[in-house]
């Protein structure tokens, strides 16, 4: 090992890091090979699970026949045609295995009064309002129907709702605590001027947040440079210390001799930069403006949507998601071009209802998808139990023109990707979290039954139990 020194050697940490990196990769390689060896005949951890199916849908549109998966410690650690089951591992077999369904717009698992509230601001967090016990029956239903994760938000009645989370249906555990911000531009019954005013208010909130973020960034830059200045000055002063002390002593002696007071040389120090006043709401919204988290905006009508698209164009880093989007077809090209996904939430309504022929209803998903817009399907955050029928909504969308693979994407890989979880869930690949369904048939077929639901590697539901 290196010899000790009182001051850290500036070069060694880097080298240490590099050495560590080498060691890690070597270790990982070793671990990987040892894992491969263990696949065959290793000692099984008590949580090992083997899943076998005639068809494994790796991702929508890509499936492999006759595959087995080994699940350990919450992850898919191996996939293969002939995987031997480790000792003590539970085996579940079915016709099809696919990624668990994710509802991108839900209120299941959230305390109902928080979900409905209008007293919520951008700094409020959905993770503070989770209610696993009060909703345990609803959550059990979701688990049985295959919807294992939901993006939840609170404050449906507020115009900007705060930080939502992605949670597991099993126990309402957060998978991603800060998943997205949400806002609502959907107040029917207002006059057009007020409706445009709503959009303008949102835009100014975004601009305000951006300014705040810029101010904070500027402050940090200024602080850094000020600190550097101070450090430099200090060094300079330290170096000249002896000389300056001698000079000062001389001056003091001269002053004493002359009977005058010594005028001390003052060093002018730049004032420490002041940070901008902390604003939690703006700080939170700034994360959306900066693209750190996506922002889901519930907007149905054409006027609001057009204005929204216009005012958000300057915020180039913002990742917007449209929820509802009944009039999104009119702007499909721009949505496709800007890569803005749309969460569709179709409801079976009476033919000739209030919107009548203008309401595309279930056909919206298919039509948007055909124009190149990424479509997600959500239950609409109206009632907790609505999430249960997510696969039925997707199936009905197929019946109204949505492509089968796009429909499956809309409730699995799509929500995972849009909410930054694609490296964890949404598809069936080695290394990803084990959030899977074992089914008796095609995932969207109405006669398919969910044979088993696996959430985070744990079997949370098995048919016939």
């Amino acid at each position: 090992m290196r010899s000790h020194s009182s001051r850290p050697n500036r070069r060694s940490p880097l080298r240490r890091l590099r050495n560590l990196g080498i060691a890690l990769t070597a270790g990982a390689g070793l671990a990987a090979t040892s894992l491969a060896v263990q696949d065959e005949a290793g000692a099984a951890a008590s949580s090992d699970l083997i899943l076998r199916a005639n068809k494994v849908i790796v991702s929508p549109g890509k499936s492999v026949d006759n595959m087995s998966l080994l699940v350990r410690d919450g992850r898919i650690v191996a996939m293969g045609k002939d995987l031997a089951a480790p000792e003590g591992a539970e085996t579940i077999e079915g016709e099809v295995i696919c990624a668990a369904f994710i509802d991108p717009w839900s209120v299941a698992g959230v305390d109902p009064s928080s979900a409905r509230s209008d007293r919520v601001d951008t700094a409020s967090r959905a993770t503070d309002a989770l209610d696993p016990f009060g909703q345990d029956e609803v959550l059990a239903d979701l688990v049985e129907s295959g919807v294992l994760m939901m993006r939840v938000e609170i404050g449906r009645a507020a115009s900007v709702s705060g930080v939502g989370a992605v949670i597991r249906a099993d126990g309402a555990e957060p998978v991603l605590a800060d998943a997205a911000l949400s806002a609502r531009l959907d107040s029917p019954g207002l006059d057009p001027v007020s409706r445009v005013g709503q959009v303008d208010r949102l835009a100014s909130a975004l601009a305000g947040a951006k300014k705040y973020a810029d101010d904070v960034a500027a402050y940090e830059r200024d602080l850094k440079s000020w600190e550097e200045e101070i450090a430099k000055k200090e060094e300079e002063l330290n170096e000249d210390f002896k000389k300056a002390k001698k000079a000062r002593d001389k001056k003091v002696k001269e002053a004493e001799e002359e009977g005058e007071e010594l005028k001390e040389k003052k060093y002018k120090e730049d004032k420490r930069p002041r940070p901008p006043k902390f604003d939690a709401k703006k700080a939170s919204l700034a994360r959306a403006v900066g693209g750190e988290v996506p922002m889901v905006i519930h907007v149905e009508q054409a006027l609001e949507l057009r204005e929204l698209l216009r005012v958000t164009r300057p915020f180039t880093r913002m990742r917007m998601v449209i929820a509802g989007g009944r009039s999104a077809l009119l702007f499909a090209d721009e949505l496709a071009e800007r890569g803005i996904p749309v969460i569709v939430t179709p409801k079976p309504s009476s033919p000739g209802g209030d919107v009548g022929e203008m309401d595309p209803g279930f056909a919206l998903a298919g039509e948007l998808s055909a124009r190149g817009v990424e479509v997600l399907i959500g239950s609409g955050a109206t009632s907790p139990v609505a999430s249960r029928d997510l696969p039925l909504l997707a199936a009905a969308a197929v019946g109204h023109g949505l492509d089968q693979d796009a429909a499956l994407h809309a409730i699995t890989a799509g929500p995972a990707r849009v909410f930054d979880l694609q490296s964890k869930v949404g598809t069936v690949r080695r290394g990803l979290h084990a959030d899977l369904l074992v089914l008796s048939g095609d995932p969207l077929s109405s006669s398919t039954r969910v044979l088993a639901s696996i959430s985070g590697g744990k079997v949370v539901h098995q048919a016939g139990n």
């Binding site: 239903d141 049985e144 129907s145 409801k347 079976p348 309504s349 009476s350 033919p351 000739g352 022929e357 595309p360 279930f362 056909a363 039509e367 239950s379 109206t382 009632s383 139990v385 609505a386 999430s387 249960r388 029928d389 696969p391 039925l392 909504l393 199936a395 009905a396 197929v398 019946g399 109204h400 023109g401 089968q404 969207l444 077929s445 109405s446 006669s447 398919t448 039954r449 969910v450």
Partner: protein
Amino acid sequence: MLISCLIAAAPLLGATAAEDAYALRASHVHVGDGQVVLDAFVVIEDGTVKSVSNSAPRGVRVVEVDGHIAPGFIGLRETIGAGGENEERTRKSTPNADLSFAFDPTSPSWRGLVAEGVTTVLMPAGSSQIAGGQAAIVSPAAGKVLKRNAVVTLGLSRSSLGSSTAPTSYAGLYAHLGEQFAAAQAGSPLAAAKAGEVPVMMRAVTRSEVARALDFAVAHGLKGALLGAPEADELVDEIKASGLGVVFESKAAPASSKDVVKSALALAKAEVPFAFTSDAASQGPLGMRMQAAACMRAGLDAGAALRAMTGDAARIAGVGETHGTIAPGRAADLVVWSGPPTDLTSRVHSVYAGGNLVHSAHAHGAHQ
């Protein structure tokens, strides 16, 4: 959709090929009683089904259909097109009312209903009526009333009680209804219901309401079905003993049909006939199919799910002999689907009512 006309009608020696007779050929014909006939020909003549078989019919033009044929849905509780005319608000009890007068064949909402596969509709009284009248069976596509005075509708739930109109209590409701039944003269609808000639549809929602309704039905020898009863699974034995079926209502969203799922499974197991409603006023036929799909995903088999929207629904409405299944002698009310009719991924290709093509998805463009 492929429509290819093979074999023009050539009169055979001695056989008369009717002008309007033709056959549909499809890979799957769902009869509506649980059976599925593969690669079948459905021969239609004069608006009724003449035969369903695997052998090609002679002397009849055959239309090849790309998809599954299923009976048209029976919409058991349509209030659209009635314009609120099915609820007489000044009196709770109008047992002699003929609800066929509430039918407005020109209402534009019917078109949407037909396009989603509903060919026959029962128009009942509103749920706030105690004895709202006699429901009529209508064909929305043909714009015709098929059968008057088909079902006697009775409301025995809390919504039939008034807060400032009599009766305000269940005791008062049953006293009133009991008097009406006792005083019913021969030939009147209530007398016909007592004699079992006309089925009844009794709306009861909570478990005690259902229990009381069953007692009343048994005491008066009524046949027919309960309407509502979302917790029917807790009273399966009593329902079976009474001989009544159950018609499940839709809710605003199929998501709140949890209790219905459990009840549907329990009734299916006990072999009690049940049906789903399309109730277009709140959700439409797609909602009905989603309700059925929710039950299927919980274990109900596809045949039973389809029966609940076709054959059994027709039987409950008292037209099981003429509608609801694809069988000789029944009305030629058929829907051609792109896949199994109970699967939500299937879509309607065309709809036949009374043997006539009344809707074709192509004609309406991609909007459907």
